[in-house]
């Protein structure tokens, strides 16, 4: 089997121990890091996402693959040319102010990194200003926000409005998620997208970025 396929396969199996050795072999064979990333790691992760959508595998298996992806990225990152890895876009993500529930947001961040996006994770309890300033500073294309309770959802609206005030709506897109959030709420506050789970989050952000 060709080496890139083996890497994709190791990733699908969540083989985070074996992936390093395969990557080394690929590098020794003079394969370009970008090619290893796209046709090995990301290709493998795409299969994982598809199988998850078809209910052939479940969240824990996706996360085992995500760990392998992370190990692989750690090895490849130093080898990329400047900005090569940002090609897919930079995303700022966080759990909104007042909220400290971050597991859902973490899962989304992991899946976005796995899909090749550069993710700036602001953590939890993030004020609206911080989302906007960070996105501007790092030239991010999308802000992703997470909330656990209905009481913290209004912060999402503040971010959407803050971007509008600065004339950045349409330039920096907003995507929201979390247990009490819905498509209807996204439409109501003027957010650009909503993701029910981490796989939908990736699809939604991919779509938004292709529009911009």
């Amino acid at each position: 089997m060709d080496l890139l396929k083996q890497i994709a396969m190791a990733l699908q199996c969540g083989d985070s121990d074996g992936i390093g050795e395969l990557l080394q072999q690929a590098l020794d064979n003079k394969l370009a890091p970008k090619e290893i990333l796209d046709r090995g790691l990301i290709a493998g992760m795409n299969v994982v996402g598809d199988r998850y959508k078809k209910h052939e595998i479940f969240l824990p298996e996706v996360l085992l693959a995500a760990k392998a992806m992370h190990m692989g990225m750690e090895k490849l990152k130093p080898l990329f040319l400047k900005d090569e890895v940002v090609a897919r876009g930079r995303i700022v993500i966080g759990t909104v102010q007042g909220d400290i529930h971050d597991i859902g947001k973490n899962l989304v961040a992991i899946m976005l990194s796995g899909a090749g996006f550069e993710v700036i994770d602001l953590g939890k309890d993030v004020p609206p200003k911080k989302f906007i300033e960070t996105a501007i500073e790092h030239n991010a294309k999308v802000i992703g926000m997470s909330a656990l309770l209905t009481t913290t959802m209004p912060i999402m609206k503040k971010v959407v409005e803050g971007l509008k005030e600065k004339g950045l709506d349409g330039k920096i897109r907003t995507v929201i998620g979390g247990a009490p959030v819905s498509n209807e709420f996204a439409a109501q506050i003027g957010a650009d997208g909503y993701g029910y789970d981490s796989v939908q989050a990736v699809d939604c952000i991919r779509k938004l970025i292709s529009l911009s």
Binding site: G14, F58, L59, P60, E61, L63, L64, A66, K67, H70, M71, Q97, G98, D99, I100, H101, I103, N106, L107, I110, L148, L149, T150, T151, T152, D197
Partner: protein, 251 residues
């Protein structure tokens, strides 16, 4: 009665079905050995790191009326508002499995052990529910001892954030119960810390009072309709039938 309850970890061992359900895996699904290994590992960590503790305080109907009104943000018609008025006894509760467990989940994520971190999160959530189940039993046993109520009394819990009881209702609940004594605090956003905590009211009365139809305004926004399962269990075990009629089929 206001009691701090130390909960033994072996009384609240999270079950696989519910933990895997929170991982998005339907009951009865065949899963890989990797998933089972993660669940077992999650249980081991839970047994080591959980610090379950709870608080229960009896409350009169009049006082609960005031607590339930909360910040005035409840739906106009709610099942709880009707149920508690028919109750024989009420108690507020708060329960947690502790901060250490939450820290451990974060630690696993930082160490990139995403699958185990996520599994432990689900295991811990199930642990909270089991701990809350125990508080219901604790309250019922207390009623039997103190008032000699018969074993058929139906005891069920309801929480702010569910069934039209606005989550901001936790402020007055906290003012009355003061669960800070067991380490549970409330943020201005009404989020409890530690995260793996639950709060609410335990309502004891004849089984019929807990039966309601899922036709309230809040029911149309509810995704889980898990009340149907609880009511079905109650109907099956007691033969109760309430003014709300038979509950709809279980999910």
């Amino acid at each position: 009665m206001r009691e701090l309850i130390e909960i033994r970890k072996d009384e609240i061992i999270p079950d696989q079905t519910n933990a895997l359900a929170l991982q998005g895996i339907c009951p009865g699904t065949r899963v890989s050995a990797n998933i089972l290994k993660l669940f077992d590992r999650g249980l081991e960590i839970f047994a080591k790191e959980a610090r379950p503790v709870g608080m229960v305080a009896a409350i009169s109907g009049n006082d609960f009326d005031f607590v339930y009104a909360g910040e005035g943000r409840n739906d106009t018609n709610t099942p709880v508002a009707e149920i508690f008025r028919k109750a024989d006894h009420l108690a507020l509760f708060a329960v947690t499995v502790g901060q250490t467990l939450h820290d451990k989940i974060n630690e696993l994520f930082v160490a990139k052990d995403f699958a185990l971190g996520s599994m432990l999160d689900s295991v811990a959530s199930v642990g909270v529910e089991k701990a809350a189940d125990l508080l219901e039993i604790f309250f019922r046993d207390g009623l039997q001892r103190e008032f000699g109520v018969d074993g058929n009394i139906a005891v069920m819990r309801y929480s702010p954030g569910y069934c039209g009881w606005h989550v901001s209702g936790q402020r007055k609940l906290f003012d009355y119960l003061k669960p800070e004594e067991v380490g549970i605090t409330l943020r201005p956003s009404y989020l409890m810390e530690p995260l793996k905590s639950a709060s609410g009211v335990i309502i004891a009365g004849s089984p019929e009072i807990h039966v309601f139809a899922d036709t309230y305004a809040c029911c149309s926004q509810c995704e889980s309709h898990s009340c149907r399962q609880r009511i079905s269990r109650l109907v099956n075990s007691t033969g109760a039938s309430g003014s709300g009629g038979q509950p709809a089929a279980m999910e």
